[in-house]
């Protein structure tokens, strides 16, 4: 059995198998897998007795429910007004240079994906970003390099 089917079954056991339990289950899969594969969505549809298309239509509505393969760490840089005013582009550039990927891409080792997102609600500490669900604020190119270095080292230590 695929581990993801087991995960989905456990999530359904935990949350329930009704339509209104769909979002927590999608979120649970994304939390572990970082994205919803075709296979995951089919398994969820099967588990909840929903049309697969409905699962797909619902998932694609939400920005945080990725449906393409993502890296272990998903970097989401806020692109909304204040962050944009306070140097978001420089931050993105620094990340791109460091990871050698563009926005929307994943590093070849599958560790990092870089995305832009709409307002994170951290405008008073702009620019801001999330790495998975950890918050980083008042970013500068230097700061962001430091943060990423920590992640890369963490990774190196086999964490």
């Amino acid at each position: 059995m695929y581990p993801v089917s087991e995960l989905i079954r456990n999530l359904a056991d935990q949350h329930g198998r009704n339509r209104h339990n769909l979002l927590p289950i999608l979120q649970g899969v994304v939390e572990q897998e970082k994205y919803l594969s075709e296979y995951s969505m089919i398994e969820i549809a099967r588990e909840l007795d929903l049309p697969a298309s409905e699962v797909y239509g619902t998932a694609t509505f939400y920005s945080f429910l990725e449906y393409k393969k993502m890296g272990k760490y998903i970097i989401r840089v806020c692109k909304t007004i204040t962050c944009s005013m306070k140097g978001k582009n420089q931050v993105v550039k620094a990340i791109e240079d460091m990871l050698k990927i563009s926005v929307g891409e994943t590093t070849p080792d599958g560790n990092f994906s870089l995305l832009q997102t709409n307002c994170l609600g951290l405008c008073h500490k702009a620019p801001a970003m999330l790495i998975n669900f950890d918050v980083y604020t008042d970013l500068t190119p230097e700061k962001v390099r430091e943060i990423l270095t920590n992640y890369i080292n963490k990774k190196g230590k086999g964490e």
């Binding site: 298309s53 409905e54 797909y56 239509g57 509505f61």
Partner: protein
């Protein structure tokens, strides 16, 4: 009864029932409000915003379809504000729409085009968004073409697929500017659980969903002197075709249709009603055999209830959704495919034709028939049994292209051999018709008497109720059917796949015990098929049904087993129902498909 509500529409005071929408109230009053996402068959979406009206005293406009009338409402449907807003909305829709009208299959029958014309949208002020979008066209299905560039996102198709059919092949995906109508992971329609029923086509206001047409292929075949082109016409076509050619809803144009087909150049014009009658004999015999095995032999393997297998949309649905119940399907092919198999065998032999040179065309109220004719199971004649399937709409196009003044045509009869039919064959076109036809023959076969209904009209299985039930008690049967004495034959009829689902689920849960069930994929049966003239509505389908039953009542023969050509084919070719030969040509078996 609740007190009526008094409102004013364009200064006309009217009283309406509580709960009436502004749109309905306006229509009752003779005020036309344009709509796009609204459809009588579907729940209210309120998303196109074309139907906005002004309620005096409110700053914002309201969607007439989604706003219930309130006491004292003063409604304006054509104020300055309404007109400007409505025009803007049409302009916006056009800016996102590939308005390549002259090259569009729906040119002339497009609701957006009509609105643009009514409101004289002559300029293109807004930026054309079409080039900025990565629109795709899905042409992989043998039945349906989905062109996203023509889509206005009214979601009628999505609601149709969900509410009428319970299939959910189509869904709304993404949000914002990327929002679109999609299948699971944007796979081709052919690779998902789409049943090819074509109801989405019938409900699409634009050219975003259309049938894959085979008009040119058929013209080519007709023009090819080496080909012998034989055509069959399904029962429901004769009560729909007229609508495309200037007649009222539900006009019977059988004789003119035959005349037109002959004019078009078909070498033989035959009737699917003939194989409908044949289906009754095969399927009726099959049912009685199953009953015997169950009641006399107590065979635990016999599958009851037996389900009809005429509707290819239903077949694909059960393959996907209830594959474990496939053995409950009658093994009979659909009348179209029986006809196809016989055209290249029985007919070829009788006319002394090389079957390889026969091109077999069918005119169907159905898009799923296109898929069906393409199935690997359908080559039992040694050739592809049916080469081309045209919808009622495609036939109308050919008639227009050929310059035939349809209304002026005289009536002509079908050609012989496979052109004779009974009223029982005709009613295949309406929901409940297969059941009624089967009961007329089976009851008489078993008891030697007519079904105990006035004029042979089995009213309980007629009408537009989603699921209908009937039972007939068999009394004093002929000696060989003695085991059926006192048996209450329980039947059900479901049309629209959402109702098929209801019946299947009630069987699964053990709640219902039926012997025989008729399933039709489309609302109203074939007369409401996905290949029938657009528009469709409950009212239109009701009129077509009336026409079908009138046609039945007007036939000299109304029971399938009385059809002389049926008697002849058994005598000359098939021997008897369920014979080895009919097994080979007229019966088949289907295989499970994935639900997800």
């Amino acid at each position: 009864m609740a007190k009526k509500i008094k409102i004013t529409i364009n200064e006309l005071t009217v009283e309406v029932e509580p709960g009436t929408s502004i749109l309905e109230a306006a229509r009752e009053t003779g005020v036309i409000i344009p709509t796009l996402c609204y459809h009588k068959d579907l729940c209210v979406a309120g998303n196109c915003r074309v139907c906005v009206v002004e309620i005096v005293g409110q700053k914002r406009l309201s969607a007439a379809c989604a706003t219930p009338c309130d006491e004292g409402m003063d409604i304006l449907t054509n104020s300055f504000k309404v007109r400007n807003s409505r025009k803007h909305i049409i302009e916006l829709l056009l800016s996102e729409h590939n308005a390549d009208c002259t090259r569009c299959y729906k040119n002339g029958n497009c609701e957006l085009q009509k609105l643009a014309s009514d409101y004289k949208i002559m300029t293109q002020d807004f930026i054309r968004l079409v080039p900025l979008k990565n629109y795709t066209i899905d042409q992989f299905s043998p039945s349906i073409i989905k062109d996203d560039s023509k889509c206005i996102r009214c979601q009628r198709c999505v609601r149709t697929c969900e509410e009428l059919q319970g299939v959910n092949a189509l869904t709304v995906a993404y949000k914002g500017d990327r929002m679109k109508i999609a299948t699971f992971f944007e796979k081709p329609m052919n690779d998902v659980i789409c049943t090819n029923c074509g109801q989405c086509i019938n409900h699409c206001p634009t050219g975003a969903l259309v049938e894959k047409n085979y008009i040119e292929e058929v013209w080519d075949a007709i023009a090819d002197k080496n080909c012998h082109v034989i055509v069959q016409t399904a029962p429901a076509v004769r009560v729909g075709l007229g609508e495309e050619l200037g007649y009222e809803y539900g006009s019977r144009v059988t004789g003119k249709m035959v005349a037109a087909l002959k004019r078009l150049g078909f070498d033989a014009v035959m009737d699917t009603d003939f194989t409908a009658d044949l289906t009754i004999l095969e399927e009726g015999t099959e049912l009685l055999t199953r009953l015997k095995r169950a009641l006399v032999n107590h065979d635990p393997d016999v599958k009851l209830p037996m389900a009809t297998s005429c509707s290819p949309g239903w077949i694909k649905y059960i393959e996907h959704m209830y594959p474990e119940y496939l053995d409950h399907l009658s093994t009979c092919k659909s009348p179209q495919q029986m006809f196809g198999a016989l055209a290249k065998t029985y007919y070829a032999r009788a006319r002394n034709l090389d079957p390889e040179k026969i091109v077999s065309v069918s005119i169907m109220p159905c898009t799923a028939k296109k898929f069906e004719s393409n199935r690997p199971e359908m080559h039992d004649s040694g050739y592809r049994d049916v080469d081309y399937v045209l919808t009622t709409r495609e036939l109308a196009i050919m008639i227009k292209q050929a310059g035939i003044d349809f209304m002026k045509l005289g009536d002509m009869p079908f050609d012989r051999l496979m052109g004779e039919s009974t009223g029982a064959g005709v009613i295949f076109g309406a929901t409940g018709g297969v059941m009624e036809a089967a009961l007329r023959t089976a009851y008489e076969l078993v008891t030697g008497r007519n079904v105990p209904f006035e004029n042979l009209n089995i009213m309980p299985v007629r009408g537009m109720e989603g699921v209908k039930e009937a039972s007939i008690r068999i009394e004093n049967p002929l000696e060989q059917w003695a085991f059926l004495d006192g048996v209450e034959l329980k039947c059900a009829v479901a049309h629209g796949l959402i109702n098929a689902k209801k019946v299947m689920d009630s069987i699964l849960s053990g709640k219902s015990q039926y012997h025989f069930i008729e399933f039709m994929a489309c609302p109203g049966g074939c007369l409401g098929g996905g290949g029938q003239p657009i528009p469709t509505s409950p009212e239109i389908r009701r009129k077509r049904a009336e026409a079908i039953y009138a046609e039945d009542l007007g036939m000299p023969l109304r029971k399938s087993h009385q059809n002389p050509e049926i008697v002849k084919i058994y005598a000359d070719f098939l021997e008897k129902p369920m014979s080895e030969k009919s097994h080979h040509l007229l019966h088949t078996k289907y295989s499970p498909r994935e639900r997800f």
